[in-house]
């Protein structure tokens, strides 16, 4: 199935990302679902949507599990088969993968995949503890290693091995805050300076406040269907032509090295092979910048540059809007925000907007008049 569409995205929705006081996760998800329904008048949600896959990481925030059924009900999809997917920060990315399985298996014609997280009503210490649950408990959490701490361990190693600098890390933050300033749904819509990023308080050295993504509330969703049915719903479907997924040890300490993510490399290889494209064919990308070092490592693992050159790539401006390969045009997790469960399909939402020419302020010129595109 090299280069052939696996599934088509026919609609997408995103809630406002930010500090959404007074709202429950289910209410935020309803906002995202409503946008997806409104974008696609030919879709009859109750009749057409045959399954819902929802990414959601933590029950602790709202003392609420059982997210699949809850979100289905509040999106007006009562009784639809609803499945919650938990895979830490890739929860809704993995939900998207589950949606692809469902459609490709032939079991479903149309599915909704999405994600949600409500975080900002908790203190930073509480959020730090809940996020750390995604790390190894008996060795990493017991030794006081936080999630920023894990990425800081990777940053220190990357700086040591490749000479990556704290300034290069800050350049990721400056770029993504610039992109966020163009996105009316972003949590932070203000540009920042290199000086303010470098002088922000230390969270887990060498990572400072502006190296970290935001604690954010938000929800996202997309609607998938079989490529041969896509025209029934929209004239401008976005085709998914490659998909990859992989995993690794739960403990960072057990991995082969700390300057690269083997799972990301393996997943990218699969997706490139399936899509029959090369890294240099990619025009625009959303990558997981939970911390600035993660974006630099993603450039390398996805093949946008060689290992060790990620810091120089961001410094060159090539990943900024208008550059050779704009990365995180939405503002990324850094400025758009990181409501953990909503992030994966939130990234897919941004790619849907880009490839259909609807990204407004941060629209890449390449896709301005293009009504078709492909999403990797």
């Amino acid at each position: 199935m090299k280069g052939k569409p696996l599934v088509s995205i026919v609609s997408a929705g995103l809630s406002k990302f930010g500090k959404l006081d007074g709202l429950y996760a289910r209410e935020i998800f309803a906002e995202a679902a409503k946008e997806a329904f409104d974008r696609c008048p030919n879709l009859d949600p109750k009749k057409d949507i045959q399954a819902l896959f929802i990414g959601h990481m933590g029950e602790s925030y709202e003392h609420q599990g059982h997210t699949g059924a809850t979100m289905a009900d509040w999106a007006g999809l009562l009784h639809v088969p609803a499945t919650r997917v938990e895979a830490a920060c890739s929860s809704s990315g993995t939900a998207l993968r589950a949606g692809i399985y469902a459609v490709l298996s032939g079991l479903c014609d149309v599915v909704m995949v999405g994600g949600v997280e409500k975080m900002t009503h908790r203190t930073t210490a509480e959020v730090t503890e809940y996020l750390a649950m995604a790390s190894d408990y008996p060795f990493e959490q017991w030794n006081g290693i936080t999630f920023p701490g894990l990425f800081a361990l990777m940053a220190t190693a990357h700086m040591h091995v490749y000479g990556t600098t704290e300034k290069q890390l800050a350049e990721v933050a400056v770029k993504n805050h610039f992109h966020g300033s163009l996105n009316s749904k972003a949590h932070m819509q203000k540009e920042i300076t290199l000086e303010s990023a470098l002088s922000s308080r230390v969270i887990a050295w060498p990572l400072k406040l502006y190296d970290c993504s935001l604690i954010t509330d938000g929800a996202s969703c997309i609607v998938l269907t079989k490529p041969e049915l896509a025209k029934r719903y929209t004239d401008t479907p976005v085709q998914i032509i490659g998909s990859g997924q992989a995993s690794d040890t739960i403990g960072l300490y057990e991995r082969e090295n700390f300057t690269s993510l083997a799972a990301a490399r393996l997943a990218a290889k699969k997706a490139y092979e399936m899509a029959d494209v090369k890294p240099e064919d990619i025009d625009v990308a959303e990558v997981h910048d939970c911390f600035t070092i993660a974006e630099i490592i993603a450039y390398e693992d996805l093949g946008f540059c060689n290992a060790g050159e990620g810091g120089r790539l961001v410094e060159s401006g090539e990943t900024r809007l208008g550059g050779r390969i704009p990365v995180n045009t939405s503002g990324g997790l850094k400025a758009k925000g990181h409501p953990v469960g909503a992030t994966g399909t939130g990234q897919a939402y941004e790619m849907y907007l880009q490839l259909t020419g609807q990204a407004l302020g941060a629209q890449c010129w390449r896709f301005r008049r293009n009504s078709h595109g492909s999403h990797l």
Binding site: A125, F139, W142, G144, I145, G149, L153, R201, W205, F258
Partner: protein, 133 residues
């Protein structure tokens, strides 16, 4: 040594309480696991024996935690790192007794053990940490 004990993470920490660093060696393929596992991920054997792991090693990477979970807030700022021991074993741990600005990748560290009452629960349960070798 300790043939009758289960090959569990809890047992690993019971050894830590006795001031011992023990991993398990697969009797079939010889792979050493630390932490211990009930199933060898290399050959799927369930036959192991406890082996002592040398406590000294080289610091591979580190960070200084300033924003900590509630249980660790009183200790901030504190250093944690990943240490390369012999036989390919890597293990994370706190680095104590070294001025934070003196910590360097590649420095030699040695494992120490905390005194701890047996009944205490995380995060007060007995733990190991690293100090300058």
């Amino acid at each position: 040594m300790c043939e009758q004990t289960p090959f569990t993470i809890e047992q690993f920490y019971k050894h830590v309480r006795q001031g011992k660093l023990l991993g398990v060696k697969c009797k079939k393929c010889g792979k050493i696991h630390l932490p211990p596992r009930p199933l060898c991920d290399n050959c799927f054997s369930t036959e192991f024996e406890w082996v002592e792991i040398p406590k000294q090693g080289k610091l591979l990477t580190y960070t200084i935690i300033h924003v900590a979970p509630i249980q660790f807030q009183e200790m901030t700022p504190y250093a944690v790192g990943i240490v390369q021991l012999e036989k390919g074993i890597k293990i994370p741990g706190m680095i104590r007794g070294v001025p934070l600005e003196m910590i360097r990748i590649g420095m030699q560290l040695i494992m120490e053990f905390e005194e701890c009452k047996p009944a205490q629960m995380w995060p007060q349960w007995s733990r190991y940490y690293f100090k300058s070798a």
